[in-house]
C-alpha cells in the first residue's frame, strides 16, 4: 500500500525527533544534567518509526533499556521524557523511573525495561487482554539481539504462537549486546530464523530502510489484527553511539561507525529516497527539521525549569492501597 504524503511527513518528523532528542541527551548527559544510565537509539530510528506507522494509541508496545525511540515513535511527549531523564516532577513518570522505565499508558506504551528480556512476557499479557476482550489491538514487542538469548523470549514466542496472540515480535539486531558481537552470542545468523521453531512467520529486513520495515510491519500487524497470530520480524541495524554513555567502543571495527553514519543513516536514506521521488520537497523537510530542533530545545528548557519531586513522593505509588 502506498504511503500517503501525510505518513511520509510523519515518518520524517518522528525520526528527526528521535535523532535530535538522542543527540541532545548525549550532550546533557555529558554536562551532568542527566543522572544514571542512558542508552541511546540514534541510528536505529527507522525501526521504531517504521513499525509505528501503522499503529494507533490503542495498540500496545513493550520496550527495552534503549527505549527513547520507541516511546517517541509511539507518541510519548518528548517534554515529559526529557524532564523524566532530568529526574523532574514533570517527567512522564514523575521522575521516579528515569531513562530505563519511561511508560505512558495513554499511548499504550507499557514501559521501557531495565531487564533484558523482561518485555516479551508482558507483551503476551497485553496480547491476551486484546484477545480476551476481542478487540483488534496489536502489541509490538521490541527486543535486541542480545535479548534473543534470554529464556523469556523463547517462552513468550511459544505462548504467543499456541494462543495465537496479536503480537509482532521485533528483533532489533544492531550487531552487539554491550561489547559482545551477535556473531558470538547468537548461534544462528538471523534471529528471524528462529520463527520456524514456533511455527510462526519470520522475516529479516534492513532495519535502516524505513520503507522495508514499514512494509514488513504492515503485513505482520494486519495478520495480528486479523487474529492470525504473531510474527517474528528481525530488523538489522547499528547503533551510532556506545552501548551506554561512557562506553569506549573498542570492540567496534575501526571505521565501522563512520561507515554506517555515511552510508546507512536511516534518516539520510529516507531523505534521498523521498526527494528523488519528489514525494516531499527539501523545503518541507527543512521546515520539519527546524520545528523539531525548536521542539527539543523547548523540551530541555521545560526540563531545566521543572522542579524536582517533593521528597514525600518517595513513598507514594508503591500500592494502590496499603
Amino acid at each position: 500500500m502506498e504511503l500517503s504524503k501525510e505518513q511520509l511527513v510523519w515518518m520524517y518528523e518522528r525520526m528527526q525527533v528521535i535523532r535530535v532528542f538522542e543527540n541532545r541527551v548525549k550532550v546533557e548527559f555529558g554536562k551532568g544534567k542527566i543522572p544514571g544510565f542512558v542508552h541511546l537509539y540514534a541510528g536505529e530510528e527507522a525501526i521504531a518509526v517504521g513499525i509505528c506507522t501503522n499503529l494507533t494509541d490503542a495498540d500496545y508496545m513493550t520496550s527495552t533499556h534503549r527505549g527513547h525511540g520507541h516511546c517517541i515513535a509511539k507518541g510519548v511527549d518528548p517534554r515529559g521524557m526529557m524532564a523524566e531523564l532530568f529526574g523532574r516532577a514533570t517527567g512522564t513518570c514523575k521522575g521516579k523511573g528515569g531513562s530505563m522505565h519511561i511508560a505512558d499508558m495513554d499511548k499504550g506504551m507499557l514501559g521501557a525495561n531495565g531487564i533484558v528480556g523482561g518485555g516479551p512476557p508482558l507483551a503476551c499479557g497485553s496480547g491476551l487482554t486484546a484477545k480476551t476482550n476481542k478487540t483488534d489491538q496489536v502489541t509490538i514487542c521490541f527486543f535486541g539481539d542480545g535479548a534473543s538469548e534470554q529464556g523469556t523470549l523463547h517462552e513468550s514466542l511459544n505462548l504467543a504462537a499456541i494462543w495465537k496472540l496479536p503480537i509482532v515480535f521485533v528483533a532489533e539486531n544492531n550487531g552487539y549486546a554491550e561489547s559482545t558481537p551477535a556473531h558470538y552470542h547468537c548461534s544462528v545468523e538471523n534471529i528471524a530464523d528462529r520463527a520456524a521453531a514456533y511455527n510462526m512467520p519470520g522475516l529479516s529486513v534492513d532495519g535502516n530502510d524505513i520503507f522495508a520495515v514499514e512494509e514488513a510491519a504492515q503485513q505482520a500487524i494486519a495478520r495480528a489484527r486479523a487474529g492470525q497470530g504473531p510474527t517474528l520480524l528481525e530488523c538489522k541495524t547499528y547503533r551510532f553511539f556506545g552501548h551506554f554513555e561512557g562506553d569506549q567502543q573498542t570492540y567496534k571495527i575501526p571505521g565501522e561507525t563512520e561507515k554506517y553514519q555515511n552510508e546507512k543513516d536511516p534518516i539520510t536514506l529516507f531523505k534521498d529516497n523521498v526527494l528523488s521521488r519528489n514525494l516531499v520537497t527539501a523545503a518541507e523537510l527543512n521546515a520539519i527539521e527546524e520545528q523539531v530542533n525548536a521542539q527539543i530545545e523547548a523540551a530541555v528548557q521545560f526540563a531545566e525549569d521543572s522542579p524536582f519531586p517533593e521528597v514525600e513522593e518517595t513513598f507514594t505509588d508503591v500500592y494502590v492501597n496499603y
Binding site: K96, A103, G111, G118, L122, G125, L128, L159, N321
Partner: protein
C-alpha cells in the same frame, strides 16, 4: 441451624467461582488449572482442575477463554498475567508450588512489583498469584518450601497466608478484588480441613490480624498452618497454668503491628511460630518490630520457632524432626517463665 462446612479447597474454589461470576474481567491461568486442553473426548471439560483439584469445575462453567491451561513457561505466563493486569484484566495465576517461583522470579520482583512505582503511579497490577507452600507432604527440598518471607521483603507485593477455610474464602475474594499484586499462599496439607464457610461472598480486609484464641500470660503469633500447632500448644500450656493468646496475622504484607503490640502489652511475653527457614524470615520481622516498638512491654526474651537453616529433607523421620510442631511451641513458651 448448623453453619455450612466446607474444606479449605472447596472454600477456595467457591471464592474463585463467585468472583468469576461477578466480574468477567477475572480470568484464571496456569499449568493444568483445567487440564486436558484440546483433548476432544473431554469436550472442553477439565482433566485435573489443578494439581490438587482446587480449580475443578471452573472451566466447565466459564470456558477455556477464561480458564487457560499454560505450557510449562512460568516466566512467560506469570509475566503475561502481569501484562494482562496492567492492561485491564484481573488474572488469577496459579504457580503450582511456591518452590517453582525461582523460574519466574524476575517477572514478580522487577515487573509486577515495581511497574506502578517506576511509572509514577500510572499503572496498576490487579493480579493474584495462588501457590502451594509448606512441608509435611514428604515432597522433599524443592516442593516443600515456604518462601513467603522472600515476597514480604519485596515492596509492591502483598502476601496472604490463610489458616482456615473461612479465612481462605474471604481473603481470596479480597485478593481478587484488590488492585495490587497479591501472592496467596495455600498450605499443602490443609486442603481437606473442614470449617464453617458462609455461602455468600465476603471480604476479609488486609492488615487485620485475627485473634484465634484469647489469653493473658503470653502472646503466640503463628502463621498459616502454624496457627493449629499453636492452638494445640495453648491447650497444653493451659494445663500448666499458662494462658496463651494466639494471633494469626493472616496477611504478612501488609502486617497488623497494632494487634500484636497490644497483645504483648497485655501479656509481656512473645513467641513467634513461622515454618520458614530461620534467617531473615517473618519471625525475625515480627520480633524486630516488637523489640523496637514494644520493648517496654517485654518481660522476657522474644522466642521464635522456625524450621532450621537446612533444605527440607525427604525422609519422614527427618522431616518430622525438621518441622515446627506443638511440642516445640510449648517448650519455647515455657522457656519464658
Amino acid at each position: 441451624m448448623a453453619e455450612r462446612q466446607l474444606n479449605f479447597n472447596e472454600a477456595l474454589n467457591e471464592a474463585m467461582r463467585q468472583e468469576m461470576q461477578r466480574d468477567p474481567k477475572v480470568i484464571l491461568l496456569g499449568e493444568d488449572v483445567a487440564g486436558g486442553a484440546d483433548v476432544e473426548h473431554l469436550d472442553g471439560d477439565d482433566a485435573w482442575g489443578g494439581v490438587l483439584g482446587v480449580t475443578k469445575g471452573l472451566v466447565k462453567e466459564f470456558g477455556r477463554e477464561r480458564v487457560l491451561d499454560t505450557p510449562i513457561s512460568e516466566s512467560g505466563f506469570i509475566g503475561a498475567a502481569v501484562g494482562a493486569a496492567v492492561t485491564g484484566l484481573r488474572p488469577i495465576a496459579e504457580m503450582m508450588f511456591v518452590g517453582f517461583m525461582g523460574v519466574c522470579f524476575d517477572q514478580i520482583l522487577n515487573q509486577g512489583a515495581k511497574l506502578r512505582y517506576m511509572f509514577g503511579g500510572k499503572a496498576q497490577v490487579p493480579l493474584v498469584i495462588r501457590t502451594i507452600y509448606g512441608g509435611g507432604f514428604r515432597a522433599a527440598a524443592q516442593h516443600s518450601q515456604v518462601l513467603y518471607s522472600l515476597f514480604t521483603h519485596i515492596p509492591g507485593v502483598k502476601t496472604v497466608v490463610p489458616s482456615t477455610p473461612y479465612d481462605a474464602k474471604g481473603l481470596l475474594i479480597s485478593s481478587i478484588r484488590d488492585n495490587d499484586l497479591v501472592i496467596f499462599f495455600e498450605d499443602i496439607t490443609l486442603g481437606a480441613m473442614k470449617g464453617p464457610v458462609p455461602e455468600e461472598p465476603y471480604e476479609i480486609p488486609f492488615g487485620q490480624a485475627d485473634i484465634k484464641r484469647e489469653g493473658s500470660d503470653l502472646t503466640i503469633v503463628a502463621i498459616g498452618k502454624m496457627v493449629h500447632h499453636a492452638l494445640l500448644a495453648a491447650e497444653e500450656l493451659q494445663k500448666q497454668g499458662k494462658s496463651a493468646e494466639i494471633i494469626d496475622p493472616r496477611t504478612l504484607s501488609p502486617f497488623d503491628e497494632e494487634t500484636v503490640l497490644k497483645s504483648v502489652e497485655k501479656t509481656g511475653r512473645l513467641v513467634i511460630v513461622d515454618e520458614s527457614h530461620p534467617r531473615c524470615n517473618m519471625a525475625t520481622d515480627i520480633a524486630a518490630t516488637v523489640a523496637d516498638k514494644g520493648f517496654d512491654f517485654l518481660n522476657a526474651p522474644i522466642k521464635t520457632v522456625s524450621s532450621p537453616h537446612t533444605p527440607v529433607p525427604f525422609s519422614p523421620t527427618l522431616e518430622d524432626h525438621y518441622l515446627p510442631n506443638a511440642t516445640k511451641v510449648t517448650a519455647a513458651a515455657l522457656a519464658l517463665f
